[in-house]
């Protein structure tokens, strides 16, 4: 018969598990559920009105002006995701490979690449705002100094460059993270396997595509899923660099900013609307949860157990 009595060990485990569980329930599970509930009500400022069923969801998805705002923000999240997939994860992979191959100065570069990751997003945002300053920014000054003055741009003021400037800042900030994860994955590859490859070919490219890339698949799963979640929850950097409105004229607007504006209002918008904001939050949450789940399942399937 199984022991149900709380032994000393059981007591310990309970005592250690209950506080964090209660914490998570109170500060994670409860807010998510209440946001879910809020989305089904009409709101007048912060005063809850009637139950309106799926009206709020319908409004943010199909009623103007919300529908085009939602589409606009969502499309930018998609651009951000794919751009960072290349610039951040792609570059991260090759940086990791270079570090793993112990090219000259690898020790220094390992630190240099990872250093920006520890900076706060707020600092990085302000730093890049200064770099991209149209008059005194180091980017425009360097371009002028090289005689390429006509390439100097008001980077954050043009719809054609603003989002890309933010993406570049994010890639610079976070590239160290996928690098570190890939590097850890590469260091786990057994040396016998690498010796065996060396007998077959001298081509680095074959080594990367046939051996390294398949064997770091678990690392890829981690960085891909985290990037997906991060790209669709993107908020701090656009907030610092472009402001709540996704300036200029919505060309840097992403779901995070749009949600915040809708739920909490900002100085220029009309009334805050918790119902619509919550509906947006629920949609973002469901989208991320479902797609991240699918990505994880698919990527897990191609991982090779060593």
């Amino acid at each position: 018969m199984p022991q149900l009595r709380l032994t000393g060990r059981g007591l310990w485990i309970t005592a250690l598990i209950v506080p964090p569980l209660a914490f998570v329930a109170l500060f994670v599970v409860y807010p998510i559920i209440s946001a879910f509930a809020y989305a089904f009500f009409d709101w007048n400022g912060l005063l809850r009105g009637e139950f309106v069923g799926l009206d709020n969801f319908h409004t943010v998805l199909f009623v103007e002006p919300y529908a085009s705002w939602t589409r606009n923000a969502f499309s930018h999240n998609i651009i951000v995701f794919f751009a960072l997939m290349v610039l951040q994860n792609g570059l991260g992979f090759f940086l990791a490979y270079a570090l793993w191959r112990e090219l000259p100065g690898a020790r220094f570069h390992r630190i240099a690449v990872f250093l920006p990751v520890v900076l706060s997003t707020i600092i990085v945002g302000y730093l890049f705002k200064l770099f991209l300053h149209p008059l005194f920014g180091v980017v425009n000054i360097s371009l002028r100094g090289m005689g390429l003055g006509e390439l100097a741009q008001p980077w954050l003021g043009q719809s054609s460059t603003a989002l890309w400037a933010l993406i570049a800042a994010n890639a610079w900030h976070m590239v160290g993270f996928p690098t570190l994860v890939f590097l850890a994955g590469m260091q786990r590859i057994p040396t016998e396997m690498l010796d065996a490859v060396r007998m077959e070919t001298r081509s680095e490219w074959v080594k990367i595509t046939k051996i390294v890339w398949p064997l770091v698949a678990p690392s890829a799963t981690v960085v891909f899923v985290l990037l997906f979640v991060g790209a669709f929850n993107w908020f701090e950097l656009p907030y610092v660099m472009a402001g709540l409105d996704g300036s200029p004229f919505g060309s840097t607007d992403v779901l995070g900013l749009y949600f915040y504006r809708t739920a909490f209002g900002n100085v220029s918008s009309g009334q805050q609307d918790f119902g619509l904001g919550s509906a947006l939050a629920v949609l973002i949450f469901l989208f991320i949860a479902v797609i991240a789940g699918l990505i994880t399942v698919r990527l897990r399937a191609r991982e090779i157990q060593l």
Binding site: N44, G45, L46, L47, E64, P65, Y66, K129, L132, H133, P134, L135, N140, A152, Q153, P154, W155, L156, G157, Q158, S159, G243, D245, S247, P248, F249, G250, F264, G265, N266, V267, S268, S269, G270, Q271, Q272, D273
Partner: protein, 412 residues
């Protein structure tokens, strides 16, 4: 002997019950962290005149103030007294019934406030005033007197003079106008700082009466002139943020700044040596009335569910008084809305003088009651205009179409 003890006990008990009612503690919330010292002085003056009432001043971060206040009020832990925003920002708090309506019976001084000022703190649906308006802000042109004097320039009387003067400054290597428009709300302010006189009072009256919309030539021509003027903004100004633009002006690198009267205090703090002047941007001809754009900032309100409402109303009455308005103007360098206030500071006196010919700061005053708000629309359309991605006519059309969604006079 025991009876004495009982009597003393009873007396103590009675006192402890009565005590909370006697000492009336009020809390007063504000987003003006920078004005704490002055407010504490105002409160001291009030407390000296009203023994038994104590007021505690608490401040919160400005951008999140409305959210914090609304959440506290909804949760029943709101303050007795509070600063509230005006127009749409007021309604989100007043409509759910958190604020005590004010009448000329409870606050007699309100009778002497201007209708425009009271309108800022009135809920449109019930026509009741919910707060004592405290300050007006004026959108105008601020200039560096020294730069103007050195270049032999004076305040322009016509639009052509304004353009010529800007060209002259540019030729001499000075940035004529400091503004940058990467920060979205700056696009709305520059519009009303520079081309209010070109729009004119009649246009605003026609908009308010629903006789015209923003496709009106008076509006689109004004936008075209603004676009033309933007050649005198800094290079790459569409990528220049608000804080950098302020610094260009306060450091003396630029001669003019289109901004609100609230900028004056900032510029003085950033560079005390700056000699500031203000003017209303001119119309086409010298005969056209020179207009500034005027709006009201916020007000003082009392909690409808407050425990010490009577004491709170006493304090509200103090805040509505000319005596307080005068202290407010003298110590905080703001244009108080209280009746009968005179301005010692020459610059403030000049702003108050300019206020006598004004149009409302239109999109804030009348078009922030629905989504998309007029402010969001004009900000993004003017931003597009500056970036060369729209024309004045298309911008006017887009603003009108956007407002049509909720603004009934535009629906046909």
């Amino acid at each position: 002997m025991p009876s004495t003890i009982i009597r003393i006990g009873a007396a103590l008990a009675a006192m402890s019950v009565a005590a909370p009612a006697m000492a009336q503690d009020l809390t007063f919330w504000s987003w003006r962290q920078e004005d704490r010292a002055q407010y504490e002085q105002f409160i001291d003056t009030f407390e000296a005149a009203n023994p038994g009432i104590t007021v505690t001043f608490e401040t919160f971060e400005a951008t999140n103030y409305n959210t914090i206040l609304a959440t506290a009020l909804a949760g029943g832990s709101g303050p007795d007294l509070m600063m509230v925003r005006a127009y749409g920002g007021l309604e989100s708090i007043a409509v759910p019934g958190y604020l005590e309506p004010l009448t000329t019976e409870t606050v007699p001084a309100l009778a002497d406030y201007t209708p425009e000022a009271l309108a800022a703190e009135t809920v449109r649906a019930d026509g009741k005033v919910y707060a004592v308006p405290f300050a007006s802000q004026t959108q105008l042109v601020i200039y560096n007197k020294k730069i103007f004097d050195d270049a032999g320039l004076s305040e322009p009387q016509t639009w052509d003079e304004f353009m010529a003067l800007s060209q002259k400054l540019k030729d001499s290597g000075i940035i004529p106008i400091a503004n940058g428009t990467a920060t979205a709300w700056q696009n709305e302010t520059v519009t009303f700082d520079f081309v209010s006189s070109l729009m004119g009072k009649d246009f605003v009256a026609d908009i308010m009466s629903g006789e015209t919309d923003f496709t009106d030539e008076r509006f689109t021509n004004a936008l075209a002139a603004l676009k033309d003027l933007s050649q005198y903004f800094p290079d790459g100004f569409i990528g220049l943020d608000y804080a950098s633009a302020q610094q260009l002006f306060s450091s003396g690198m630029a001669a003019m700044f289109g901004g609100g009267s609230y900028e004056l205090a900032t510029f003085r703090a950033q560079n005390p040596d700056l000699e500031l002047g203000v003017f209303a941007a001119p119309g086409r001809t010298a005969e056209d009335e020179k207009l500034v754009a005027l709006y009201f900032d916020g007000g003082y309100a009392a909690n409808a569910a407050g425990a010490n409402k009577e004491a709170a109303l006493k304090f509200i009455n103090y805040l509505a008084s000319t005596e307080f308005g005068q202290a407010f103007a003298d110590n905080l360098n703001n244009i108080s809305t209280a009746p009968g206030v005179t301005f010692q500071d020459p610059l403030l006196a000049e702003v108050a003088e300019l206020n006598t010919s004004s149009i409302p700061y239109l999109f804030l005053v009348s078009f922030r009651y629905g989504e998309p708000s007029g402010s969001v629309l004009i900000q993004s359309e003017v931003q597009k205009l500056f970036a060369g991605e729209t024309t004045p006519e298309a911008a006017g059309q887009a603003i009108t179409d956007g407002l049509k969604v909720w603004y009934e006079p535009f629906q046909d």
